[in-house]
């Protein structure tokens, strides 16, 4: 079984790029460990490159049956008030968030 491990080294800049794409802030102490582990896992999935897949197109869905499309119309759904009970901050029927315009995004 797959026990030999390919080592892939991720640079700190690579990790920073991923953090930004994924919108996740990592704490200082976990960065080095995570960078090493991510490199190991990327090495682990290199196995895929050795598999001959010629003749197979990428397959996202199983598609054993035709999905039923629903009628394109409105249906009963949760009320706005019910949904907003779970929001961390809401005002007058809206989600409230920190200001978006007029400040530079980090």
């Amino acid at each position: 079984m797959l026990r030999e491990r390919v080592i892939v080294k991720l640079k700190d800049a690579d990790l920073k790029h991923l953090e930004r794409l994924a919108r996740v802030e990592l704490s200082g102490e976990s960065r080095a460990k995570l960078r090493r582990q991510l490199g190991d896992i990327i090495g682990f999935v290199q196995k895929l490159q050795e598999i001959d897949t010629s003749g197979y197109s990428p397959r996202a869905y199983l598609g054993g049956f035709e999905p039923e499309l629903r009628r394109d119309g409105t249906e009963e759904c949760l009320s706005r008030d019910e949904v907003l009970t779970q929001a961390p901050d809401a005002l007058n029927g809206f989600f409230r968030v920190p200001s978006v315009i007029g400040r530079e995004e980090p």
Partner: protein, 491 residues
């Protein structure tokens, strides 16, 4: 009076039908056992004590005892939505979340007369194989409290094994029902992709996730699967048409079933007890005049690599919804971007962040073709290889996991070692096939060993029929009982 917590669903229903017990007695017995034992096991994140008793009392008033799960307590994995009750996914980010709706499976359980008694622990967002990635508690294996119950449905499997519920629901993305069922000596079933509605299951990897039952017997498993299966307009991937009548169709002899044996079984790195249990099951089949034929399975190493690319890619997309705006945790910040990043940085645990970052990597520009598109091609190949096997065979018999339960803490710092405990379970998810784990034996250390059967798409009835046969000849429940002493504080 007999101990109601030792009865199967059928046994419970006989007691209820003949008025020897009422639903409040059944629920009360289980709540009392949870009170005594869950301090040691920690299977539950939340127990609905008074609500479950009220529901049981309401059932008694209503009558309608002919319902298939009348008065049966069910524990539900905490990534399945329960209206008005916490649904945390064992994550800080959903600590205070109370969904405003029930998952379809929960509605179906209630329609069938069941009583939801609580929510069970899991690896955060079902990401893990040991239930150690929970933000709230470490669940312990009832057979040995030093060992992990497996995962990610470890709370559900431990609850059933420790007699804290006769039935629990789990979810299975790469083995998360079957592997903990094997580790805890109980039965766990994942249906064909689309058999059970995913509406109200908090999404991890949508093309792989399936909800399914964990029970003590195959018969109970069939009854619960029949109650929760079936088309749901709220899930576009749910299989159209009525589901099979599994309780009835899973009964019968198996002389018509063609069982396949993996050709590389001898090469696999299996713990000796797992190898013995597997060989014992093939021997039992031969004695019943079922001659297993050897087949080449899709490469299990390729499957697990394919799985970790696809599952994490989907997870990175599905978990984008936790942004501190719509529900769950918000860590206040002075800009929107910083709020997203801090909320997610603090709200998600280590394994979840690892997977989101990996999923982001394989989907990012420059890597998409080499990893994500390639994994989808591998998936197509695996599906094709299984389809060819199931043209000639009905079932494949193989181990559920390469080892019995491992010790708590043993694999937490080595994600790849942890991932490899799913090596035999991920192929069925990738190909969307039904698969079941049943308890088959006990290791030298006294830990249960599970065996897995996989069937072709839509083959749940044959799968359950085969599982009932093995259950009958292997006699796990008659031969082995866990020592409840340590669960009750050794006192």
């Amino acid at each position: 009076m007999i101990d109601l917590t030792e009865l199967s669903i059928q046994g419970l229903q006989e007691e209820l039908a003949s008025d020897r017990a009422r639903p409040t007695d059944v629920v009360g017995s289980y709540l009392e056992k949870i009170e005594r034992r869950d301090g040691a096991v920690k299977a539950f994140l939340e127990v609905f004590g008074s609500e479950a008793m009220e529901r049981a009392a309401a059932l008694e008033k209503e009558g309608r005892r002919d319902r298939p799960l009348y008065g049966v307590p069910v524990a539900v994995k905490d990534n399945i939505c329960t209206r008005g009750f916490p649904t945390t996914c064992a994550s800080r980010i959903l600590e205070n979340y109370r969904p405003p709706y029930n998952a379809t499976v929960v509605e179906r359980l209630l329609d069938a007369g069941a009583v939801v008694i609580g929510k069970t622990n899991l690896d955060e967002f079902a990401m893990g194989s040991s239930t150690e990635n929970s933000a709230y508690a470490v669940t312990r294996n009832p057979w040995n409290l030093e060992c992990a119950p497996g995962g990610s449905s470890g709370g559900s499997a431990a609850a059933v094994a420790a007699r804290l519920a006769p039935v629990a629901l789990g979810s299975d993305t790469g083995g998360s029902i079957r592997q903990p069922a094997a580790f805890c000596g109980v039965v766990g079933l994942k249906g064909t992709y689309g058999r059970v509605s995913r509406y109200g299951l908090v999404a991890f990897a949508s093309s792989l996730d399936q909800i399914g039952p964990i029970t003590r017997t195959v018969e109970d498993c069939a009854a619960v699967m029949e109650a929760i299966a079936g088309h749901d307009p709220h899930d576009a991937t749910s299989i159209p048409g009525p589901p099979p009548a599994l309780a009835r169709e899973s009964v019968g002899d198996i002389s018509d079933l063609r069982v396949a044996m993996p050709s590389r079984l001898g090469e696999w790195d299996l713990e000796s007890s797992v190898r013995e249990a597997t060989e014992g099951a093939f021997e039992a089949l031969r004695e019943a005049d079922i001659r297993p034929e050897t087949v080449d399975l899709p490469d299990v190493d390729a499957s697990i690599a394919c799985y970790y690319v696809l599952a994490n890619a989907e997870a990175s997309s599905n978990l984008a919804r936790y942004d501190g705006v719509k529900y769950g945790l918000r860590v206040p910040s002075d800009s929107l971007g910083a709020m997203y990043e801090r909320t997610r940085g603090i709200g998600f645990g280590e394994e979840v962040k690892r997977r989101i970052l990996l999923g982001t990597y394989v989907l990012s520009s420059g890597y998409y073709e080499a990893y994500y598109a390639k994994a989808q091609q591998v998936k197509a190949k695996i599906c094709d290889e299984f389809a060819r096997i199931f043209e000639l065979h009905d079932l494949i018999l193989l181990p559920t996991a390469p080892t019995p339960a491992f010790r708590i803490g043993e694999k937490v710092d080595d994600p790849i070692a942890m991932y490899l405990s799913d090596i035999f379970t991920t192929p069925a998810n990738i190909a969307g096939l039904p698969a079941i784990s049943i308890p088959a034996g006990i290791s030298g250390e006294g830990l249960p060993v599970g065996l897995q059967l996989i069937a072709g798409a839509g083959g749940e009835a044959a799968l359950l029929r085969g599982a009932r046969f093995l259950e009958r000849v292997l006699r796990f429940n008659e031969r082995f009982a866990l020592d409840a002493g340590p669960l009750e504080g050794g006192a």
